[in-house]
């Protein structure tokens, strides 16, 4: 496969689908009518210059402005496309979105008015009360920010910005004070690996309840990044440190990029992180600051444009991400390959130059652990009460039935029968026996569905 690289003024590479031999690809994931969620890069500009930044356009100043179309036109078109395609949730990102947020208020209000949920990824350095008020009015309740260390000097060094630590911490405190749910993501390289627990403890003391540590992926245009990048042993150390954070500090923990499942070589790691898999082009995509549409933010391949063809055509063009095309040869015999696809494809590309190459963190010698599944068992004796669907639950029709969506991590594909049951009962209480009758299954079986809906907080 040809190495993809900056090929036009946007810095991203357009995919020519006439070159593809899709007949040899096997579908491994159903095609949805549109993504469930999208990342929207409001700008390529940033007030930090983190050494690990994955934005492939960051090192080329010429690529920092969208060509051909005004920012306002692109923004309006992007919002329109998100609404038309019934995308459930959009995450505002960048660059640093707070640098330009005020230019997007009209479009964001349109999204809110049409029921599109909005989240925000920001370093919070520019956060203030006015932003807080506006974001609340837009329905934003959740913010993901980034802090690289509890050591201010090290953080500023990694952010390439003196004073960044002080501004970020002030932003976190203010956001918490304003009632936002703030998650802190720590991007981990060799230099801050020893401070994972310390950073978690620091943000816990600020009042944060969710902490993620994610190993820095090799940025596409970076040189000598191996000097910073974790090796597999260090990566496992980081994951185990997250488990310590969960145990000892009581924080909700996560890692934000799906690891190859074979690196999770203990039952504990598999249980904690084995549920993650790449969602690029399957349930999500990224709309770039230039209007080009990519499978994920770390990927430089574009499959269409907001301005030409729109989100729907780009999503169709991404079909290859729903096939086995990018599974590395060395992973194809693995029983979990369709779920794992060999780990992050953007990282494999950044290091090896091809999307179907091996991820450096995959292993052919590890034992695979399956995840322990925990779903509280519903007993008919304790299920005499009535249930009510969450008023925040949204629905979108698909060819197999539809999607019930509560949040980016809480959604469920359902068949026509359950979709119909939801649509006819969404505003009135029901018994589990009503569900069983509608689903034409036994009451005992219906309790499985009840338990799953409960686990996803979709019924109360």
């Amino acid at each position: 496969m040809e190495r993809l690289g900056p090929a036009d003024s946007s810095g991203s590479k357009a995919i020519n689908h006439t070159e593809k031999d899709s007949l040899q690809e096997k579908e491994i994931f159903r095609s949805l009518s549109a993504p469930l969620t999208a990342q929207w890069e409001l700008t390529s500009s940033c007030n930090q210059a983190c050494i690990h930044c994955y934005n492939f356009w960051r090192q080329d100043e010429a690529n920092h402005e969208p060509a051909n179309h005004s920012t306002e036109l692109l923004a309006s078109k992007a919002a329109e496309q998100l609404i038309i395609n019934k995308v459930f949730n959009v995450t505002l990102t960048g660059g640093e979105p707070l640098l330009v947020l005020n230019r997007y208020y009209d479009q964001l209000e349109s999204l809110r008015d049409c029921g599109v949920g909005i989240d925000l990824n920001t370093n919070l350095a520019l956060f203030n009360r006015e932003y807080a008020r506006k974001l609340k009015s837009l329905g934003v309740s959740s913010i993901l920010t980034s802090l690289m260390s509890s050591n201010s000097e090290l953080n500023d060094q990694l952010a390439n910005k003196k004073g960044a630590f002080t501004r970020i911490v002030r932003g976190i405190e203010l956001a918490l004070d304003e009632g936002f749910h703030v998650g802190v993501s720590m991007v981990v390289t060799k230099s801050n690996l020893p401070d994972v627990f310390g950073t978690a403890e620091y943000v816990r003391n600020l009042g944060v309840t969710m902490f993620a540590a994610t190993k820095a992926s090799t940025p596409i245009n970076a040189t000598r990044f191996y000097e910073h990048s974790l090796n597999p042993q260090e990566f496992k150390l980081m994951l185990n440190e997250l488990l310590n954070v969960e145990r000892e500090l009581g924080l909700q923990v996560d890692t934000l990029v799906a690891p190859p499942l074979c690196i999770l070589d203990t039952r504990e790691l598999a249980d904690a992180f084995g549920h993650k898999s790449c969602s690029a082009g399957k349930i999500t995509c990224t709309i770039g600051f230039d209007g080009l549409i990519r499978p994920c933010s770390q990927n430089s391949c574009n499959y269409g444009s907001i301005m030409e063809g729109g989100l729907s055509r780009a999503w169709q063009n991404m079909q290859e991400w729903r096939t086995d095309k990018f599974i590395p040869d060395g992973c194809r015999q693995c029983p979990v390959a369709p779920a794992c696809i060999g780990g992050c494809r953007a990282e494999a590309y950044a290091i090896n130059g091809t999307l179907d190459s091996a991820n450096p963190f995959s292993s052919t010698t590890a034992s695979l652990y399956t995840r322990d599944r925990k779903l509280s068992r519903r007993d008919s004796a304790e299920t005499k009460g009535r249930f009510l669907f969450s008023p925040r639950l949204k629905f979108r029709t698909e060819e197999f039935g539809g999607i019930l969506f509560l949040a980016s991590s809480k959604w469920l594909p359902v068949d026509v029968d359950l979709a119909h049951f939801f649509l006819t009962n969404k505003e009135r209480p029901f018994l589990y026996t009503d569900l069983a009758k509608n689903m034409k299954c036994s009451p005992t079986s219906a309790l499985r569905t009840i338990a799953l809906l409960e686990q996803k907080s979709m019924i109360v």
């Binding site: 579908e27 491994i28 994931f29 349930i283 779920a339 794992c340 399956t370 599944r373 359902v414």
Partner: protein, 73 residues
């Protein structure tokens, strides 16, 4: 592209988005074995479904994994 699995239900009404190489079958809740059961192994399952049939698929998966590793070695 051939789609071998049209409908996989993990609990009544719930659909899997993963397309596997199973015979087409409509799965009922684990334990409700009249329609078959889940043989896909937990990694193929998007959901946190506790599966009463899990011990066998897990064992198979781990055995298969070891066998693959052995072959490579």
């Amino acid at each position: 592209m051939e789609r071998k699995t049209e409908r996989i239900l993990l609990a009544p009404g719930v659909v899997s988005l993963r397309v596997g190489e199973l015979k087409e079958q409509k799965l009922r809740a684990p334990g409700d074995s009249s329609d078959g059961g889940c043989f896909r192994g937990c990694f193929d399952c998007t959901y946190d479904v506790e599966c009463e049939r899990a011990p066998d698929p897990i064992k198979k998966l781990e055995q298969k994994s070891r066998r693959i590793v052995g072959q490579k070695a």
